[in-house]
């Protein structure tokens, strides 16, 4: 099963021969790199390992997460361990979910030229340009939905001629949506109040003063919701 097939890759231009089943990240380590930057979760969630590559002989520039991409023969690889995104600060209690807030914090989104480079480069295959369009219109709910799987790796912004920091725009939209636009959960607020009013205090007290034997009995007999 563990075939020893090797492929040639080029890390920052230097050639290495590595087992073909490795991810780009593991291939760098195999080649001898002790990673510090450019490596976080190793599972496709944190966006630390944004990477750009081109296959030898091809023109197209590709982007990926190094931890989620298998090496290919002839890959020319450069990592992008840091990208200077613009993150504006704001007070989430004071802002309002209106179009003006985008105009105020991230006006460059209105300079989008519609080139689609962001969408094309997204390591999560999101329609980035579309979510920026939603943000321009103040449609934060859609912007939040469309951008939800963003890992903020910053590749889109590195490709943008208008200098937009897409992940930060989306972050703002999601917080606005979560805080102001999503429906409130009445049952949650009720329960918080019930607890604050001491509604469960005596029950909890008697429960926590039972012996382990008694609790074991209760646990083993508890009914389980279907």
């Amino acid at each position: 099963m563990n075939s020893e097939k090797k492929v040639k890759i080029y890390l920052f231009g230097k050639e290495y021969s590595v087992p073909s089943e490795l991810t780009i990240m593991c291939a760098m380590e195999y080649a001898g790199y002790q990673l510090v930057r450019g490596c976080g979760c190793r599972s496709g969630f944190c966006g630390a390992c944004a990477t750009i590559y081109r296959i030898k002989g091809q023109r197209e520039l590709k982007t990926c997460l190094a931890c989620q991409t298998r090496v290919e023969d002839g890959m020319y690889i450069a990592t992008l361990p840091f990208f200077p995104l613009v993150k504006e600060v704001y007070d989430v209690e004071k802002i309002k979910p209106t179009e003006q807030i985008m105009m105020q914090l991230y006006p460059e989104i209105y300079a989008c030229v519609g080139c689609g480079a962001c969408t094309k480069s997204c390591t999560q295959s999101l329609d980035v340009m579309q979510y920026i369009a939603y943000a321009q219109r103040g449609d934060f709910k859609r912007c939040a939905e469309e951008s939800f799987d963003c890992v903020m790796c910053g590749v889109c912004s590195s490709r943008c001629p208008a200098g937009i920091s897409h992940p930060q725009v989306a972050m703002l939209a999601r917080r606005l949506n979560g805080k102001y636009l999503a429906p409130r959960s009445a049952h949650l607020e009720d329960r918080v109040k019930e607890i604050k009013d001491g509604g469960f205090d005596s029950l909890m007290e008697s429960l926590t003063s039972l012996s382990d034997g008694e609790l074991r009995e209760l646990y083993n007999k508890r009914d389980i919701e279907k």
Partner: protein
Amino acid sequence: MYSDEFKESLCAVEASREKNLAYEPPRMTAEEKEALLSEYHPDFKMNEFDTLKVGKNKGSRAPKELCRMLQAHSRVRDGADLSNIKYDVDVLVIGGGGAGAAAAIEANSAGASVMIVTKLRIGDANTMMAEGGIQAADKPGDSPCIHFLDAYGGGHFAAKRELLSKLVTEAPDALLWLSNLGVEFDKTPDGEMITTHGGGTSRKRMHAAKDYSGAEIMRTLRDEVFNREIPVVDFTSAVEIILDEKGRAAGAVLMNMETGEITAARAKTVIIATGGAGRVHYQGFPTSNHYGATADGLVLGYRAGAKLLYAETLQYHPTGAAYPQQIYGSLVTEKVRSLGAKLVNAAGEVFVHPLETRDVAAAAIIRECGARRLGVDAGNTKAVWLDTPMIEMLGGSGTIEKRIPAMMRMFANFGIDIRKEPILVYPTLHYQNGGLDISARCEVTGVENLFAAGEVVGGIHGKNRLMGNSLLDIIVFGRTAGACAAEAAKKTVSERLTLSHVEKFEKELAAAKIETDDVSPMLLPNYTGKKSMF
């Protein structure tokens, strides 16, 4: 697409799918569970443990790898220049995961000057990776008391009761706090939280944000930390806690991860929020954890005089990815089973209830692949099937894309469509059940002005944690740690700093005749030059 070597077993799984879908496997009795665990769970493999010879836990059992780290030399055993104080704050938070961020936000709210130092970037942390969800008893028909019972029993009746009752009682408020910060939970159009079961829950109280639950929480907390302009010093690890002459925590020795430069941070109170230990690869297991999960906080605390609780218990998540090899050890969220996928052996038989607690399910898989010889050879390991197409048969087509997009993407990246094909899984090292012993105010037992929150803590969950209770504990206890550390900072007048405890510890090592070249904390694993598939 699977290659031909899986054909036979894959056909068996497909042929039995209808039947398996309808079949509800029995839940094990308490006795059956005990027998299974003691025979197959890694925590019970006695030859994998040693007895500690120094420190507060002297005489007790801990995993061999942990013993080595706890009894290794300090990275600054030759001393460090404590006059080179680069940072001076009220509250120093060590670790930029969910617990650290929540603590920093609350310390900031309480008016303290607070800063975060973290090994990688803020958010490169286990919190970012949590997929499944967060528990809270916020539905009618559920209550904090039932939540308590589920967690206490699931943790084998070993949790510190005052910690667990705080966890469940403050759970709904934790969710409301997150909602008010803008965290987007899955809800119905009228605002009802969409909740499911997790292993060991008796009520459906798992709240999620698709299968990016931790990412959604972490990125929101991180954004809030930035909005409050709380200083975050990244790529900087704490390598030793600094005490003052009264023996109270008063800062930390820091190491720049890129340049190796050693500096010091002085603080009135210190919060350890360094998370877990998956990258220690106990017993050679792969792990679901992030790159910096190396048990540093246990080492930092232990040398400063803290006590550990349940350091001998670790959580092996039953469903780590076993194939394709590129994602070996990565987590397949428990939500896959919550949504209806069952565990099936090489012969196409369902062999365990999909919602047993994690330790039980993991032990059952290990038994299936070992003694029973009903595992599938997945290359790095034997494995069993997790029959994901069942999810769409139950919930309708589109369920997978909507509810577990991250899982779908992870496998699709390597050519497997989990809507149509089942996946191969084997237990992966997932969570550090044990850790620093704390009070309900997050004070570390034995060291004044030292606080701890998150996965580095032991005792909240007993000896096995239920899914969804960890994201919860980092919020509940993270917030408490921040507030209490800020309060204690107000009452603290700085004294002279010292590392005499480190010298003392070195002497104890010598007295116990421990000879080693190891230094700790570990900081990062070393995979260089190897064909590691971790």
